[in-house]
């Protein structure tokens, strides 16, 4: 109710909203419209390297909408399988993060308040150091002559090095490692608010621990599960650094494809089309995230 009031009488209310609003419109929303526009253009060898959508010829304004880029994405097997592979890798990584992160978040939320802050800080700390460097750390561990292979060979378990780096397996490790904190934080925020007496009430009423977890804890932390999962899944679909550094030739991820299309082939219209299709695939997860994120804040 006070909000309405502020809105009504606050002098310069409009300009307070206008500054961040216009910034975000100009630098976040409008760029997507431009991407959409260029995805309908054709590549040309010039700067900028794409054709204009509108043309003034024969005294008429002409629109040159070109669906070729999208047809190209559909017909070339590389793109379709990249989309599927990205969704699959992101999905499996999200599930792994959830399986590892949930018990951790639970344990932190159940620890004494004095320890809790420290434990939480230890979860956050790695994500404040460099993402790139944390991915790089795994190269030395997973390499053919890396730590794992050296250790296994020294112990005589294997004779020749396991090929781990530059496989999808390494990509899974990388994604789970890099995104785990983003799963744990919302889960923790949810679990710490959970009234412990509800669990006691459930077990008092005869529910076994596992049943209590399934019927009380899990449903009450649904918002955290969804927020955490989306925080992992959505960026993982478009991940570039991890497949580039840890993945191999067989790792087809759409973020990497887009990068190559743009930087190596310099085909901006196709890169734009790749981005638009990726966005369309991510609309539902993003709306889901937005919904639960807002719920969390209110």
């Amino acid at each position: 109710m006070i909000r309405k009031f502020w809105q009504r009488i606050r002098p310069g209310h409009g300009s307070v909203i206008a500054i961040p609003y216009l910034w975000l419109l100009l630098f976040f929303l409008i760029p997507f419209i431009i991407v959409l526009k260029i995805s309908f253009a054709e590549m040309q060898l010039a700067m900028p390297p794409f054709t204009d959508l509108t043309e003034y010829a024969e005294e008429r304004l002409q629109f040159n909408v070109n669906l070729g880029n999208y047809l190209y994405l559909l017909t070339d097997d590389l793109y379709v399988s990249s989309y599927f592979a990205s969704l699959k890798i992101a999905f499996i990584s999200t599930v792994l993060c959830l399986l590892i992160g949930y018990p951790m978040a639970y344990a932190i939320a159940r620890s004494s308040p004095a320890v809790r802050t420290g434990l939480l800080m230890l979860i956050v700390l790695p994500s404040w150091t460099s993402f790139l460097i944390r991915v790089y750390a795994w190269i030395g561990i997973l390499k053919n002559n890396g730590l794992i292979n050296n250790a296994l060979m020294a112990m005589g378990i294997i004779d020749e090095p396991l090929h781990i780096l530059h496989t999808n397996f390494a990509v899974y490790i990388g994604i789970v490692y890099a995104y785990l904190p983003f799963m744990i934080l919302p889960l923790y925020a949810n679990l710490v608010k959970l009234d412990y007496s509800l669990l006691e009430a459930a077990s008092d009423l005869g529910a076994r621990p596992w049943k209590t977890f399934l019927t009380v804890t899990l449903p009450l932390t649904k918002a955290g599960i969804i927020a955490g999962s989306m925080l992992v899944f959505i960026p993982a679909v478009g991940e570039f650094v991890i497949p580039e550094l840890l993945g191999g030739p067989e790792t087809l991820m759409i973020g990497k494809v887009l990068w190559q299309e743009f930087f190596n082939n310099r085909d901006w219209p196709v890169a734009s089309a790749v981005a638009i299709v990726m966005l369309l695939l991510l609309v539902v997860p993003m709306v889901l995230f937005h919904h639960y994120q807002n719920k969390e804040l209110e």
Binding site: I2, R3, K4, W6, I9, R10, P11, H13, V16, I17, I19, P20, Y21, W23, L24, L26, F27, F28, P31, V35, P48, I100, P103, Y106, A107, I108, R110, T117, L119, M121, L122, V124, L125, P126, W128, T129, S130, L132, I133, A137, G140, K143, N145, L147, Y177, P235, G238, F240, E244, L258, A271, S272, A275, M278, L279, L282, M286, F289, Q293, L297
Partner: protein
Amino acid sequence: MSARRSGLLFTYLAFGYAFLYVPIFILMVFSFNESRLVTVWAGFSTKWYGELFRDQQMLDAAWMSLRIAFLTATAATALGTLAGLIMARFGRFRGHHLFAGMITAPLVMPEVITGLSLLLLFVSMEQMLGWPQGRGMTTIWIAHTTFSTAFVAIVIASRLRELDISVEEAAMDLGARPAKVFFVITLPIIAPALLSGWLLAFTLSLDDLVIASFVSGPGSTTLPMVVFSSVRLGVSPKINALATIIIVLVSISILVAGLLLARMDRKKRAPRSTENGDA
């Protein structure tokens, strides 16, 4: 909770932390390795640190990144505080759905999409308006500010939502105009959140590779870009040395800031528990 089960849980927790920290420790240990091979120990040496500090390209890039991060953090804190205030206090205005969407979407938007879209915006703007001329520090700064603003806004909005709104009403009741209420009452109370927002934006900017790669130009190479091109060619103890420095610096500042914030928070929140909410 039974002792056995809580024991199990904490063993699990210990493994979780090991997973998070062992790779980082290995990375740091091998920065002191004599050998160029970062995986075989050949004796203690600090020579890679020396080499790192003689690498002019690396130093230039680091300086560039620090400058951009500082400017980004400052701008994003200002914009993000306004955005957070709007989200927490302004309720439903025309277009508030779109606004809320533009705050949450950057939190999860794949970086390649953000990077590509901003680059295309800058190119189109240059074509139409003649600005920005080429790409460089300014375009990176704009890009970083845009996505960092969303993170700062979330931090500020959640702090404002737990702030007792009657404190602001009391100030207004005693004769302070809304703008004065914001600067004299609201801002000082949420100052710790402002600080965490600033630090968050700073590290986000310092850490970004993908978006900067899209919107940078010649002469505006950031540290992650240099690291990335080096890492692509293989492991190098120099990168380990750099990583160690970054990790140590970040850990120290996070620990200091964290302890400081926790103390401020405890002091502020402890007596609040005796106050009941509104009926």
